[in-house]
C-alpha cells in the first residue's frame, strides 16, 4: 500500500512539474507561431461577421425582389443581387451560417464517436479486431462519393449532410487516434494506474485521452476545413443542402448558369469558402506546430 502511494505521489509530482514547463512553453510557442495567431484571428472575424448577420444586413435572405434582379454590387447591395433579386451579401452570410453549422456539428459528432471507438478498440483487443476490419472496409469507399450518396439517403437536408459527413470521417479519426492510444497504453504511468486498481474507464478517459488530445485537436481542425469543403461540393452538384436553405455550395451552384451575365454571384460565395477554409488550415498548421505531436511523443518515450 505504501509503495503504491509512493508511486502515486511520484507520478503526481512529475505530472505537475511537467505541466508548469509545458504551460510556459506553450504560451511562448503560441506567441511565436504567426500562422496560429493569424488563423485564429481570421476565423474569429469570419465567425463574427456570420453571427452579426442580422445587424449587418436588413434584407431577408429568401425574399425575392423582381425589381432588383442581377444587380451589380452597389451601396444598397454590397455584393449585388442574384436572379431572384435576393441580396447576395445576406445570402452568403446566411449560407455561411449553414456551412459553419454543418462543419461544427460534424466535428463534434466525429470527435465524440471517433474518441469513443478509438479508446475502446485501443483497450480491448476483441473490439479492436472488429473495429479494424470495419474501418478497412470503410476506407475502401470513395469518401466524397459515398458522402454524397449518404446525403441523398438521409434526405438532402442540413442534418442529412452532417450525418453523412460524420459517418465518412469517423474512420479517419479512429485510425489516427488508435495508433497513438496503442503506444500510450504501454506507458509506465498507465501501468502504474492499472496496478493500483484505477477502473478501466477512468484510465481510458483520465490517463490515456489527455495524451492523444494534441493529435485530436489538430486532426479535428483540419477535419472542420474538409467538412466545409465537402459540404460545398456535395451541395454544388445539387445533392446536399436544398434551396430555399442557402449554403455556400448551392449559392455557387445557382450562380453557375449566370456566369456570363453575373460573375459577381460566383465570386462572393467562392471567396467566402476560401477564406473560411484558409483560416481553418492556418489554425491547424499553427496548432500542429505548437502542440507538435511528434515532439511530445519523443518526450514521452524518453
Amino acid at each position: 500500500m505504501r509503495s503504491s502511494i509512493h508511486v502515486c505521489v511520484l507520478a503526481r509530482s512529475e505530472s505537475t512539474s511537467m505541466k508548469t514547463i509545458n504551460e510556459n512553453s506553450i504560451w511562448f510557442r503560441i506567441c511565436h507561431t504567426p500562422s496560429l495567431i493569424f488563423g485564429a484571428v481570421l476565423l474569429f472575424l469570419v465567425v463574427s461577421v456570420l453571427i452579426l448577420q442580422p445587424v449587418l444586413t436588413h434584407y431577408d435572405a429568401n425574399a425575392n425582389d423582381f425589381s432588383a434582379i442581377l444587380q451589380k454590387p452597389s451601396r444598397d447591395h454590397w455584393l449585388g443581387t442574384d436572379s431572384f433579386g435576393r441580396d447576395l451579401f445576406t445570402r452568403v452570410l446566411e449560407g455561411g451560417k449553414v456551412s459553419l453549422r454543418i462543419g461544427i456539428e460534424t466535428v463534434i459528432y466525429t470527435t465524440f464517436f471517433g474518441v469513443l471507438i478509438a479508446l475502446f478498440s485501443g483497450y480491448f483487443e476483441i473490439v479492436d479486431v472488429i473495429v479494424m476490419r470495419v474501418m478497412d472496409v470503410m476506407m475502401a469507399f470513395p469518401t466524397l462519393l459515398i458522402a454524397m450518396v449518404l446525403a441523398a439517403v438521409f434526405g438532402n437536408s442540413i442534418s442529412g449532410v452532417t450525418l453523412a459527413l460524420t459517418i465518412v470521417y469517423v474512420p479517419r479519426t479512429v485510425r489516427i487516434l488508435r495508433s497513438s492510444i496503442l503506444s500510450i497504453r504501454e506507458e509506465v504511468y498507465v501501468e502504474a494506474a492499472r496496478s493500483i486498481g484505477v477502473p478501466t474507464i477512468k484510465i481510458m478517459f483520465k490517463h490515456i485521452l489527455p495524451g492523444v488530445l494534441p493529435i485530436l485537436i489538430v486532426q479535428e481542425t483540419f477535419l472542420f476545413a474538409y467538412a466545409i469543403l465537402a459540404e460545398a461540393g456535395i451541395s454544388f452538384v445539387g445533392v446536399g443542402v436544398q434551396p430555399p436553405d442557402a449554403s455556400w455550395g448551392n449559392i455557387l451552384s445557382d450562380a453557375t448558369s449566370l456566369l456570363r451575365e453575373a460573375p459577381w454571384c460566383v465570386i462572393a460565395p467562392g471567396f467566402a469558402i476560401m477564406i473560411m477554409v484558409f483560416a481553418l488550415n492556418l489554425l491547424g498548421d499553427g496548432l500542429r506546430e505548437v502542440l507538435d505531436p511528434k515532439r511530445q511523443k519523443g518526450k514521452a518515450k524518453n
Binding site: D136, V137, A140, F141, P142, T143, L144, L145, I146, M148, V149, L150, A152, V153, G155, A225, L229, A232, G233, F236, V237, G238, V239, L252, A255, T256, L259, R260, P263, V266, G270, I273, M274, V277, F278, N281, L282, D285
Partner: protein, 315 residues
C-alpha cells in the same frame, strides 16, 4: 513476394463482397420509389408487375441476395431508365473519368513536386514562403470555384477553351486535349498544392539526415546531393501519395464532371441519384471501390519493390 501479392489479392475478395453488400443496402435505403417514377403520374399499369420487372419485389434481403449473386457472375443488372445494362452505361463513361483523373494527376505531379523541391532547398526563404502560401491557398480553393474562375477567364473572356463537354480520344488527340485541358488543370491544381506540401516536408526531413551531412562533408556537389541522395529518398512518400491522390480523384471527379458537363461516371451517378436509378448507382460505386482497392494494392506492391525495408519486413 509472390505469396504476399497472392495473399493480398485473396483478402480483397471478402472485402469487396462486404463492400458490395453495404453499397446495395445504403443505396436501396434512399427515400423514393423508382417504380412510381416509371409508372408516371397517371399510375397506368400494374404497380406490382412493374415492381417485379424492375426487381424491386421481395424483402431487401432477397433483393440483396439476387443482386449479389448476379454481381458475382459479372452481371451488374439493368438500368431502370437508360434502357441499357448498367455495365454498358458505365463502360462508355469510364474513359471520360479516367481521362480526367489521369490528366489531372499528371498536372498535379508536374506542378506540385518541382515546387515542393524548390521550396525545400532554402527553407523559410522568400521563395519558400511564397510557394508555401500559394499551395496553401490552392488547398483552400474548392475545385469548382477555381474551375468557375477559369471558365470565366479562359473560356468566356479569352475563348481559348470550350466551357465544357467532352470529345473522345478517338476523334483526335487535339480535340480531346482541348476539351479535357481546363477540367484536368482545375482538378489537378488543387492536388498540386498537396504534392508541393508533401514533397517539401519529406525533402526537409531527408536533407536533415546524417548521410546528407556526410555527402556534403565529402565535398560532393550540391546538385548531386539533391538529385542523387535526397530526391531518391524523398520521393518515397510521394509514391504512396500519388496512389492515394489517384483514388481520391476517381472518387471526387463527380464535382469537376458536373461543373464542366463531362459525361463521366461521376455525372452518371449524380443523375442516377436524382432519378433513383439504384442499379446504376450501385454499379458505379462498386466499380470505383474496386478500383480503389486494386490501386491501393498496386501501391503497396510498388512500395515494397522500391523500399527494401518494407520488403524484408514483410517476409
Amino acid at each position: 513476394m509472390t505469396r504476399y501479392i497472392i495473399k493480398r489479392l485473396l483478402l480483397m475478395i471478402p472485402t469487396l463482397i462486404v463492400v458490395a453488400c453495404i453499397i446495395f443496402l445504403v443505396v436501396n435505403a434512399m427515400p423514393g420509389d423508382p417504380a412510381l417514377t416509371v409508372l408516371g403520374a397517371d399510375m397506368e399499369g400494374d404497380y406490382a408487375l412493374v415492381k417485379e420487372r424492375m426487381g424491386l419485389n421481395g424483402t431487401i434481403w432477397e433483393r440483396l441476395w439476387r443482386w449479389l449473386s448476379n454481381v458475382l457472375q459479372g452481371n451488374l443488372g439493368e438500368s431502370y431508365f437508360l434502357g441499357s445494362s448498367v455495365w454498358d452505361a458505365i463502360k462508355e463513361r469510364i474513359p471520360v473519368t479516367v481521362s480526367l483523373a489521369t490528366a489531372a494527376l499528371v498536372f498535379a505531379v508536374i506542378i506540385g513536386i518541382p515546387l515542393g523541391i524548390i521550396a525545400s532547398l532554402k527553407p523559410n526563404s522568400i521563395l519558400d514562403t511564397a510557394i508555401s502560401s500559394i499551395s496553401l491557398i490552392g488547398l483552400c480553393t474548392p475545385e469548382f470555384f477555381g474551375g468557375l474562375i477559369f471558365i470565366l477567364w479562359f473560356a468566356l473572356r479569352m475563348k481559348i477553351f470550350p466551357t465544357g463537354g467532352y470529345r473522345p480520344i478517338e476523334e483526335g488527340m487535339g480535340q480531346w486535349a482541348k476539351y479535357i485541358f481546363l477540367p484536368a488543370f482545375t482538378y489537378g491544381l488543387h492536388q498540386a498544392a498537396y504534392f508541393a506540401r508533401l514533397m517539401r516536408s519529406s525533402m526537409l526531413e531527408v536533407l536533415n539526415q546524417d548521410f546528407i551531412t556526410t555527402a556534403t562533408a565529402k565535398g560532393q556537389k550540391k546538385v548531386v546531393i539533391i538529385a542523387k541522395h535526397a530526391l531518391r529518398n524523398a520521393l518515397l512518400p510521394s509514391v504512396t501519395g500519388i496512389g492515394m491522390v489517384y483514388t481520391m480523384m476517381l472518387g471526387g471527379a463527380f464535382i469537376t464532371e458536373s461543373l464542366f458537363r463531362l459525361p463521366g461516371t461521376g455525372l452518371l451517378i449524380i443523375n442516377s441519384i436524382a432519378k433513383r436509378d439504384f442499379p446504376v448507382v450501385c454499379g458505379v460505386l462498386l466499380l470505383i471501390s474496386a478500383a480503389i482497392l486494386v490501386i491501393n494494392l498496386f501501391v503497396d506492391i510498388l512500395y515494397a519493390f522500391i523500399d527494401p525495408r518494407v520488403r524484408f519486413g514483410k517476409k
